[in-house]
């Protein structure tokens, strides 16, 4: 496995849960991302910020996770999933999928966290 494999850093804050995602989000690693996010939803927390600054690769398997989790967060207006600091590659992949308008995206994680 190449050494930019997925790492997930989770920082629970009072207002929301911040995740710093690093490396590859692909068919192989996306399940791990989904699991990490789902664990937070299961604790009744539905305000998530994903810092994507250091995501080096994002495939449709990763987007599937983002869409699934964002849907669950938004249900009953109980929360949302914000994206923070996507790098150019990530931004291009989101645009390719027509998702760039659908996720609320902030240039920095502090703006994402501060706008919940």
């Amino acid at each position: 496995m190449s050494n930019d494999s997925l790492t997930i850093e989770h920082q629970p804050l009072k207002r929301c849960d911040l995740f710093r995602i690093r490396g590859r989000v692909d068919g192989e690693t996306a399940p791990r991302l989904e699991q990490a996010l789902r664990r937070v939803l299961e604790n009744g927390r539905y305000k998530l910020v994903l810092n994507l600054a250091e995501v080096t690769f994002l495939s449709s398997a990763g987007l599937r996770v983002l869409i699934t989790i964002a849907k669950e967060c938004r249900r009953f207006n109980r929360g949302n999933l914000y994206l923070a600091a996507p790098n150019q590659r990530v931004q291009q992949v989101l645009e390719l999928a027509g998702l760039d308008e659908l996720f609320k995206t902030f240039p920095t994680e502090v703006e994402a966290v501060g706008n919940f």
Partner: protein
């Protein structure tokens, strides 16, 4: 299949499982560089290949693994990649394109893989015959 890889094509024979993905990636990346593609082009080709291979692992072989051949070559400044597996065939023309217009709440969570392949490559041609399933993807003017 109508297009045959030249004998000089780069070739990888491997069992299609999730564990093989990183080897496939390294192989494909190496081919791209050896054939003169820049990092930008390589990134998008890796994404298209990732989607194609994931589908073979998940759908064609339904997670049970099976033989996979990957061949890459260049003709003029066009980049070719040919995938060959022996899994379940399917009817690509019956797969509805993803709905990119509706809001997130009503959007399907999947179906982006084929769409990405088609957006990223200039040609995406499936064929299914007695020898198995073939997928040819071409990126025109990939070197330049």
């Amino acid at each position: 299949m109508s297009v045959d890889a030249p004998a000089s094509a780069h070739h990888l024979h491997i069992t299609a499982t999730p564990a093989a993905l990183s080897t496939i990636r390294t192989f494909t990346e190496g081919c791209c560089h050896a054939l003169g593609l820049d990092d930008e082009q390589t990134f998008w080709i890796l994404l298209a290949v990732e989607e194609a291979i994931t589908n073979i692992i998940e759908h064609a072989y339904a997670g049970r693994g099976g033989e996979l051949d990957i061949r890459c070559w260049r003709a003029d400044d066009d980049f070719y990649i040919l995938l060959h597996d022996h899994g379940r065939p399917f009817a690509p023309e019956t797969v509805a394109p993803p709905d990119l217009e509706s809001p997130l709440e009503t959007r399907s969570v999947g179906g982006l893989g084929l769409y990405f392949m088609r957006k990223l490559m200039d040609e995406v041609r499936f064929s299914f015959d007695a020898e198995g399933n073939h997928l040819l993807m071409v990126k025109r003017h990939a070197v330049g």
